[in-house]
């Protein structure tokens, strides 16, 4: 038996080196602390789940991996995926945004309504995005300056924004049928791939870089991980805190535009489940609801897991109601299993 304790993760017994400042600490031989296979398994467990799911999907539904089917899955989920990106930022910063569904609906009706009224999809697009910025700013100010709990703040703004969307649209859908450009956002293709897929993929890549590799991203983690410490370190905590809501506002409005374009219609009564679907994607990916931990790639995995499930259910003609039940169970089970694995690792 070895008599020299090896450093576990927790207590690395320090060997005092009498030789003083010049002595090289035992850093280079990080064998004891380099993540082992177990740690990788924990970290990437959801990737494993996704792979297994895809294998099962191809067995149950041989057409699953057809490019056409994959394209459909991604297009159908591009809106919720884009919202999930914003939600990942908010949750990592220690917040929550329940207003994305309403902002999504507002983005949809503004895009459709302004296209009809002005005849310009550019003006309509700018209007919808601006609305997203405004909603995000309001959320951000309420949360960071007035110190209202984000759950309550965004629940409130969600109701207000939804009301505005209904009033603007007079509770009836804006049907855009005389402007072919309107549907370009959803239907045009670049290199054979539909535009929403491009937007989704590019948004994920940009967001992943922003969060993982920039000072802004690192500071978002700090605010969510320990707000007090971030403040005492001189970070602009209020500004950082507000910025993530602006981001979700913009992304939600963009998602609304994309779906309005795809369906050729903008209406106020959509997006009811959007906030919870986006949160489900984030947590299934393994981002902690407590803030300070998580990653964009995790949300990509979460999105693919849930999108694959839905696709398989539809192909097997499972009824909507049973889908709801199954999805709910799977979301909770996935997060519970993840928590158990993590807890075991630590305990």
């Amino acid at each position: 038996m070895s008599t020299t304790p090896q450093g576990g993760t927790g207590t690395v017994p320090q060997t005092p080196t009498p030789s003083g400042p010049g002595a090289t600490p035992r850093m280079s031989d990080g064998a004891a602390t380099r993540p082992g296979i177990g740690q990788y398994a924990t970290r990437y467990s959801m990737v494993g789940v996704l792979v297994v799911l895809i294998i099962v999907a191809t067995i149950l539904y041989p057409g699953f991996l057809n490019p056409a089917n994959i394209g459909n899955i991604l297009t159908q989920n591009s809106a919720v995926g884009i919202i999930a990106i914003g939600m990942t930022f908010v949750i990592i910063s220690g917040g929550f945004d329940l207003s994305v569904g309403a902002t999504y609906a507002l983005g949809a009706v503004l895009f459709a309504g302004l296209t009809i009224q002005t005849g310009s999809i550019v003006v309509a697009g700018i209007g919808a995005i601006a609305a997203g910025v405004v909603v995000g700013l309001i959320n951000g100010v309420i949360v960071s300056r007035l110190n209202v709990n984000p759950f309550v703040a965004t629940l409130g703004t969600s109701s207000v924004v939804s009301g505005i969307a209904y009033i603007y649209s007079d509770s009836s859908p804006f049907i855009v049928n005389d402007d072919p450009q309107f549907q370009d956002l959803a239907l045009s293709t670049i290199a054979g791939v539909r535009l929403p897929i491009w937007i989704l993929v590019i948004a994920f890549i940009v967001a992943a870089l922003l969060l993982a590799r920039t000072t802004f991203g690192r500071n978002i983690y700090a605010v969510g991980g320990n707000y007090e410490a971030a403040w005492l370190s001189g970070l602009r905590v209020k500004g950082l805190n507000a910025s993530v809501y602006v981001l979700t506002g913009v992304l939600a409005a963009l998602a609304g535009m994309m779906d309005a374009s795809r369906l050729g219609v903008g209406q106020a009564d959509v997006g009811g489940s959007m906030a919870l679907d986006a949160i489900a994607i984030v947590v299934v990916g393994g981002t902690s609801l407590l803030g300070g931990e998580g990653a964009i790639w995790r949300s990509a995995v979460g999105l693919l897991i849930l999108a694959t499930l839905t696709n398989v259910f539809y192909s097997l003609n499972v009824s909507q109601h049973w889908q709801l039940i199954a999805k709910g169970c799977i979301v909770v089970a996935a997060v519970a299993v993840d928590a158990i694995i993590r807890h075991r690792k630590r305990g």
């Binding site: 008599t3 304790p5 017994p13 090289t24 600490p25 320990n226 970070l235 300070g292």
Partner: protein, 506 residues
């Protein structure tokens, strides 16, 4: 080297009549303070004297209610750590300000990321981190999340952050309290180097030896006021203590020795692969056994194992002569009569609750099935008075109490279980001299009433003052055991064993 007071150079820090009230009571009242640039300035005083509050006002963590604070002649925006930071003022806090999910390296660069065009330069920061590790002579893996670091490792990371910040003024609130002897020496050396480079340093400390060793200027606070501020040459340890408390308190070696009872606890061969290596300890009723060792030598891990908190540890436990199953949870340990008073008050007490609620946390006092608040309060008053707690304060939020009073509440809470065996981890860490003496005396009283006390401290002098027997831990083993009842012990020998330099450790 102390700068001569040059009128053309504004003081690094100048407070004029700075005051701060909490709940209507002055925590700092009309404090005047001048810190000359390029000096090391010590701020001393008992807990609750207002040192941390004054530091908080200077750093922008707290808004001053009255008075003016200037840094190099500029008045700071009140309540803005960011503004203080822009003026080159960096603070290493006593309450650790780690981001638990960040790695050690990421924590060092919190708020001061190396970046180019907004992109973080992770490789450069990692390199810089490794340099800092060499400078501090520690080996803290850069990729370990801060939540998995020990308290002392977190403190070192926190100090690294302050050093790395390239500050004009570095303020440290009890930087050495959580550090082992060896780590303190490194800290002192680094502070010396920083001063030589022109950095102004202000630090709060309870360790008067280090205050006298390090500082150019010493300011004493008492009862929310600055009592006196004078150059190092005008001070002695005795005079500092006198100005701090008004009366001299020194921790004296306990002279009275009560007879010991039967063996109350025997632990054999506690093993936790990689951490503990076959530790055996026995103790008798009424006995105080001291555990001493460097940070990371396994003292805390040993305690946690005995309370069933470390599931990978194994061993044999005999209580009052009867073998009992190895504890699998805190609950079983407590019900078999073994309690642990943990090291970190911040984690062991619910800071927003009062002493009464903390005492009864996890159990309730019942009369005919109903909670009895009067009885609960009475029990808390009785037990906390035993440890010298001012019982008028039992209904105040624990957060507002000084460290010494928090420690007394914590001890009372666990004494409330009436255990046979107390495992007490660092009971005197970061508390003032007067409270230390009270806490140590109350441990002796507990032992006199028949309890077995197993206690650790990083302060060798303190354990030696009260214990009957001392066990020296090193690298997860007991490397030395000695009777300390009659006088002569060689401190050097103990330290040598602790550092694992003796053949006995092989």
């Amino acid at each position: 080297m102390a700068h001569p007071a040059d009128p053309s150079v504004p003081p690094a820090i100048q407070c004029v009549g700075a005051s701060k009230k909490f709940a209507g009571k002055y925590a700092v009242h009309g404090a005047d303070l001048v810190v000359e640039p390029g000096t090391i300035h010590a701020l001393v005083g008992e807990n609750g004297a207002g040192k941390s509050t004054l530091l908080g006002m200077i750093s922008g963590r707290l808004a001053a209610d009255e008075g003016v604070i200037r840094v190099f002649g500029d008045q700071l925006h009140s309540s803005s750590p960011r503004d203080a930071r822009r003026h080159g003022l960096v603070v290493v806090y006593q309450e650790l300000t780690m981001v638990p999910a960040f790695t050690a390296a990421q924590n060092v660069f919190l708020g001061q990321l190396d970046s180019r065009g907004g992109m973080t330069l992770d490789r450069a920061m990692r390199q810089r981190y490794l340099e800092l590790c060499r400078q501090f002579d520690v080996a803290i893996d850069p990729d370990v999340p801060a939540r998995d670091l020990s308290v002392s490792q977190q403190q070192i990371v926190e100090i690294m952050r302050g050093v790395q910040a390239d500050s004009r003024v570095l303020m440290l609130d009890e930087p050495s309290a959580a550090l082992a002897e060896h780590e303190r020496e490194i800290l002192y050396r680094i502070l010396d180097q920083l001063r030589a480079g022109g950095t102004t340093i202000v630090f709060v400390s309870h360790n008067l030896d280090e205050v006298l060793q390090l500082s150019d200027h010493i300011t004493v606070m008492r009862d929310s006021q600055v009592v006196v501020s004078a150059p190092r040459s005008e001070w002695t340890k005795q005079s500092i203590v006198q100005r701090m408390v008004g009366k001299a308190v020194v921790i004296e070696k306990r002279t009275e020795r009560h007879p010991l009872g039967e063996e109350s606890i025997a632990v054999r061969d506690v093993t936790w692969p990689g951490v503990l290596d076959g530790i055996s300890v026995t103790a008798r009723a009424g006995e105080i056994v001291g555990l001493w060792g460097l940070v990371g030598s396994g003292r805390t891990s040993f305690f946690r194992s005995l309370c069933g908190l470390e599931h990978r540890s194994r061993g044999e436990l005999t209580l009052a002569g009867r073998p009992v199953p190895w504890p699998r949870s805190m609950r079983t340990a407590v019900s078999s009569g073994v309690v642990m008073v943990p090291e970190s008050r911040r984690h062991a007490l619910v800071m927003g609750m009062d002493a009464v609620s903390n005492y009864w946390l996890g159990r309730r006092s019942r009369t005919r099935g109903l909670l009895s608040f009067r009885k609960e309060r009475g029990d808390v008053v009785r037990d906390s008075a035993f440890f010298g707690f001012n019982t008028k304060r039992v209904t105040e939020a624990v957060r507002t109490l000084s460290g010494g009073n928090q420690q007394k509440v914590l001890l009372a809470k666990w004494a409330g279980y009436r255990p046979k065996v107390f495992l007490i981890d660092e009971p005197t860490r970061g508390i003032d001299v007067g409270a230390k003496a009270e806490v140590l005396a109350s441990l002796v009283n507990l032992a006199r009433e028949g309890a077995t006390i197993i206690v650790t401290s990083s302060e060798l002098e303190e354990v030696l003052a009260i214990c009957d027997r001392l066990l020296v831990f090193s690298h997860g083993r007991v490397v030395h055991e000695l009777d300390t009842r009659d006088g002569d012990v060689s401190v050097e020998e103990i330290v040598r064993f602790g550092f694992g330099e003796s053949e006995a450790a092989a």
